[in-house]
């Protein structure tokens, strides 16, 4: 039985666990139908031209883990931003771990999707937002929607500033020979409110994992949302991240994607505009080696006037690693005075590394400022010589240059401890110790 059949047939078992007489279940059933019709995407589809799921789908993934697995905090402390106090939503093999989590209902809700989906007091919020901005057409998003049951639920009412960052952590223990998980996150940030979120997926051993995650983010009027994704998983971990951001007027939403590891990572990042004078920021740093693969597939849909979007993706690829950047900016006819900028700068450190960069600008308004720039290059030899001539060995000089190359994106991280952590991961990834924190 292939994975698609397995998933479709396991839906009946899933139905025994949920309330089938609810609007929510209609959504799930429709989503399953869409997935059943479409199946997993293949390289024949333009959007998946450079990323193949074939090899991964051959694994015999367990769809529902048989047992609950516990981990001690000390085993996983290093994955958290433990230097500062944070709210934590921690999931182990897809199951919530109250032991490792730190939730709240004090003024803001930082809690579980499973309770939000079932408790009457959240019904109105769920009816208003759940699956409202996520695609009903995309097969992988539909697959997630069909089985949506657990994940992070974050609801910040208006005029509230979340007093500390929120960490969403998905651990895989590897107790299953191969595991598929489908987290579902919903983030609602009310008018004039502010939240910072860090999301990370981490497997704790070498057994294959496939994560098909969907996150919906709603930024209301003048809300500020900063969302950071840390993708530094091991070489048997695969992640398909589908993130949908809905923005109202004068809101600022930013998503940073740090792709430093994992076998295959696909980021489908979509921004939709529903108000004027708002700003969307999509930044990314990818540093890959061995046979790692990352595919950034972004969409910014400018549908309203006077909005801005900024995309800045830096990629450094060595060994046989591959990168894809497919960035689409759609400026609708009504979206006059749009400022949309897109940059994808890449460095290839080996002859066998590849980057496929494809900017797509579709502009239907006539008074706009849009630009895109994709570059692919090698390390600047003069700069290398300059640093070496000061006594800095080749490897360290290379690391400094790559850091300098990624610097604009690193500087845009608003949480200082996270900035430090990211620079540390970069230094580790580049195998250097420079005697200072980069």
């Amino acid at each position: 039985m292939d994975l698609k059949e397995k998933l479709v047939s396991s839906f009946m078992a899933f139905e025994e666990r949920v309330d089938v007489h609810s609007d929510l279940h209609d959504i799930r059933t429709n989503a399953l139908k869409n997935f059943e019709n479409k199946g997993f995407p293949t390289k024949k589809e333009e959007a998946w031209k450079y990323t193949s799921l074939n090899a991964i789908l051959k694994n015999d993934f367990t769809v529902f883990p048989k047992q609950e697995n516990a981990i001690e905090f000390n085993q996983v402390k290093k994955y958290f931003l433990h230097e500062i106090d944070t709210y934590k939503l921690v999931f182990i093999d897809g199951v919530f771990s109250s032991h490792l989590s730190s939730t709240t209902h004090d003024g803001i809700d930082v809690c579980l999707m499973s309770s939000a989906l079932t408790k009457p007091k959240y019904k109105m919020v769920i009816d208003t937002y759940f699956n409202q901005i996520a695609s009903k057409d995309d097969s992988l998003t539909s697959l997630n929607t069909a089985f949506a049951i657990e994940g992070a639920f974050i609801n910040i009412p208006k005029k509230k500033v979340a007093d500390k960052p929120i960490e969403i952590m998905y651990f895989s223990t590897g107790n299953e020979a191969a595991l598929m998980v489908q987290p579902r996150n919903l983030v609602i940030v009310g008018e004039n409110s502010h939240v910072q979120i860090i999301e990370r997926h981490q497997s704790l051993n070498e057994n294959p994992v496939l994560t098909n995650s969907v996150t919906e983010i709603f930024a209301q009027k003048r809300a500020i949302v900063d969302y950071y994704k840390i993708q530094n998983d091991n070489n048997e971990a695969n992640l398909i991240d589908n993130t949908y951001v809905s923005q109202q007027q004068e809101s600022h939403a930013s998503v940073h994607t740090f792709s430093f590891g994992g076998n295959l990572t696909r980021n489908n990042l979509n921004f939709y505009h529903f108000g004027e004078r708002l700003t969307s920021t999509l930044n990314g740093i990818s540093i890959l080696n061995e046979k790692q693969h990352v595919d950034h597939y972004t969409l910014v849909n400018h549908a309203t006037p006077n909005c801005e979007s900024f995309q800045d993706y830096k990629g450094i690829f060595s060994d046989r690693s591959t990168g894809v950047f497919n960035g689409k900016v759609l400026v609708e006819k009504e979206a006059q005075k749009t400022n949309a900028f897109q940059k994808s700068n890449n460095i290839l450190l080996s002859d066998k590394a590849t980057i496929n960069a494809k900017p797509q600008l579709e502009i239907f308004a006539d008074d706009v400022k849009c630009s895109h720039g994709c570059t692919v290059g090698q390390l600047d030899e003069t700069a290398m010589f300059y640093m070496q001539s000061r006594g800095i060995p080749k490897k360290e000089a290379k690391a400094l240059l790559m850091y300098a190359f990624s610097n604009a994106v690193i500087e845009s991280i608003k949480i200082p401890e996270l900035k430090q952590r990211i620079t540390k991961i970069i230094a580790m990834k580049l195998g250097v110790n420079l005697g200072f924190d980069l």
Binding site: D380, E381, T382, A383, F385, Y386, M387, Q388, S389, R390, G391, I392, P393, K394, E396, A397, L400, L401, Y403, A404, S406, N407, A408, I410, E411, L434, G435, F436, L438
Partner: protein
């Protein structure tokens, strides 16, 4: 200290240095002058170990050791310093952090302990005063957004920090106004001792009013065509390079 013998160097198929001979002793200042395209910058790059150039014949010997097989950083660890005509911008890496890395890598290579943070601060304070550098400047990203003068002053600051045996200043005067030139030259003069040597590479005589050379060599078409004392620089300034070109 430095002995360059019959040095030939090429970039690709093009031979640029065609048999250079220079002897530099500790405590000396040598000036190498010449028209554009004569091979001045190639000579400095080859001494510092730039791998874009191929040494096809001859040798560069520092304190009895042939530098041929040494990478640029290994030459630096042995005390060679090259001040760049066009210093490179490194965003996100402060001048201080860059110097920390450079100094500690050099110390590591020479089997010394890393410099403590306190020591480092002390040296930085001392050397920045020497070059009249504002301390705020040191926390800025290396060379990013620096004016031409700031870049050159920063090069000499790095020289002061690294205390090289042999310093090569490649067109350090280009892009400097007269005040910056004076500060840079004063810095260099204060760093001069009987234990180190300096090679000044320049197109114009102007810098040599401030850093007075013991010897002047004229490089033309890949060869040293004339050597003499500091008066040779004045003669060149007066007669122009056409004088040299006519004779060769």
């Amino acid at each position: 200290m430095l002995s360059i013998k019959n040095l030939h160097a090429a970039i690709g198929d093009k031979e640029i240095l065609k048999g250079i001979n220079i002897e530099v002793k500790a405590g000396e200042v040598h000036a190498i002058m010449g028209p554009n395209g004569s091979g001045k910058s190639t000579l400095s790059a080859v001494i510092a170990g730039n791998e874009n150039y191929e040494v096809t014949d001859g040798e560069v010997i520092l304190d009895g050791e042939d530098l041929a097989d040494l990478a640029p950083e290994e030459r630096a660890h042995k005390g060679v310093f090259l001040s760049f005509q066009y210093p490179v911008e490194i965003p996100g890496v402060s001048v201080t952090n860059f110097m920390k890395t450079a100094i500690n890598e050099t110390r590591k290579a020479n089997g010394q302990e890393e410099m403590t943070a306190n020591e480092m601060l002390k040296v930085i304070r001392e050397k920045s005063e020497l070059l009249e550098i504002d301390r705020k400047f040191l926390s800025r990203s290396l060379n990013e957004g620096f004016s031409g003068g700031e870049k050159k002053r920063n090069e000499i600051f790095q020289m002061a920090m690294l205390e090289p045996k042999l310093a090569i200043l490649d067109e350090t005067d280009s892009g400097l106004d007269i005040d910056a030139l004076r500060i840079v030259a004063n810095g260099v003069n204060k760093l001069k001792s009987d234990k180190n040597a300096i090679i000044v590479i320049t197109h114009y005589q102007r810098l040599l009013d401030y850093i007075v050379p013991d010897f002047v060599h004229v490089l033309y078409n890949g060869r040293i065509v004339k050597s003499g004392g500091k008066e040779l620089a004045y003669e060149l300034e007066e007669k122009g390079y056409d004088w040299i070109k006519a004779e060769n």
